[in-house]
Amino acid sequence: MGIWLILGLGIALVLLGVIVWLAISLNLSQKKTAAARQKAFNETAEKDVEHIFNDAFRQELRNRGLLHFEQIINENAMFLQQDLRITASQVNDYMKQEIKRTLTEEFAKYEQSIADAKQLATDSINKTQGAIEEQRKILTDQLKQQADAAKAQLVEHFEKNMADTVNHYIMLAIGEQIDLNDQLEYIIGDLEANKQAILEDIKNGA
């Protein structure tokens, strides 16, 4: 039995090999045929192309191509112009927004700094005013004290010298109009009043 198996397998293998060899040969032949065919086709095609695409046709094609190209270029230019305009407009709008935003921020900061400076100045002025008010009060009190002291001194001086002052004014006012004869009665009266004192003095002196 084994022998038969081995034999069968060998035969299968040979058959398979033959088949493969045939396939490869066929393929190669087909390829050779295809290649030859292709080559023939190519040669034929070239001839036909040479026959169809002559110079005039080529020129025509060239012209059409140029026109189409110009058309495309113009369209693209127009699209580009539109895009540029749109872009420029957008850039302007963006710039405006940014500038506006920046200016708004800066002005807000400036306004804030001015308000702060104003507040500082107001505080400083208020402090200075308070200090000045205190000084004024102190000076007023001192001045009042000095004025009161001076007034008291003047009053004391006047009271101390009132007799001399009034005497002086009497002399200035009526000094030259006072007649001794008018005073005789009063002088005699004074002598009477001091008579005893004068008598005692003369008696003691004698």
């Binding site: 000094g175 004074d190 003095d201």
Partner: protein, 167 residues
């Protein structure tokens, strides 16, 4: 020549014309000069002519009824004036202005009537008095001026002044 008989000495009086010591001194000098002149005239044998004398001396002579040609009486008057100069009680009164003659006369009359008949009054000027007088004796000063009255009245015046201010 026989000496003239001594007459009893009457009490000599001081007339109002003699006010203070200055008058005494002037009267004394004048009396001395008069005596010298009369003595010379008598020695010369010429008729005695009385020279003009001041009112002051004339008043003394008249008040005391002195025979000026009598040397004894002249001498007595001279001695009297000399004693007055050294021993008479003196009073000094200052006034604001120069007193008139009548004023002085009345003052001296009162003083010689009430204080002493032979009192001599020296008069001074003190313009600062304004009114009244200042009496100075040998040991006292009596200020009767208006200034002193004001000084004495200062407390009352101040009281009234303060009362008026507060009112």
């Amino acid at each position: 020549m026989a000496p003239e008989p001594a007459t009893p000495s009457p009490v000599l009086v001081l007339p109002q014309a003699i006010v203070g010591q200055v008058d005494i001194i002037r009267a004394t000098r004048e009396l001395e000069a008069l005596g010298d002149m009369l003595s010379q005239q008598k020695r010369g044998g010429t008729a005695v002519q009385l020279p003009p004398i001041s009112e002051r001396l004339a008043a003394v002579i008249e008040a005391n009824k002195v025979d000026i040609q009598n040397q004894t009486e002249r001498q007595r008057l001279y001695d009297f004036l000399g004693e007055l100069k050294t021993k008479a009680p003196r009073l000094h009164m200052s006034f604001a202005s120069e007193p008139a003659g009548l004023f002085t006369e009345k003052i001296i009359t009162w003083l010689r009537t009430e204080i002493h008949p032979l009192l001599l009054l020296d008069i001074g000027l003190q313009p600062t008095i304004a009114a009244g007088c200042v009496i100075r004796t040998s040991s006292k000063i009596i200020d009767c001026s208006i200034r002193q009255r004001l000084v004495n009245s200062t407390p009352d015046l101040l009281k009234r002044l303060r009362g008026d201010i507060h009112a």
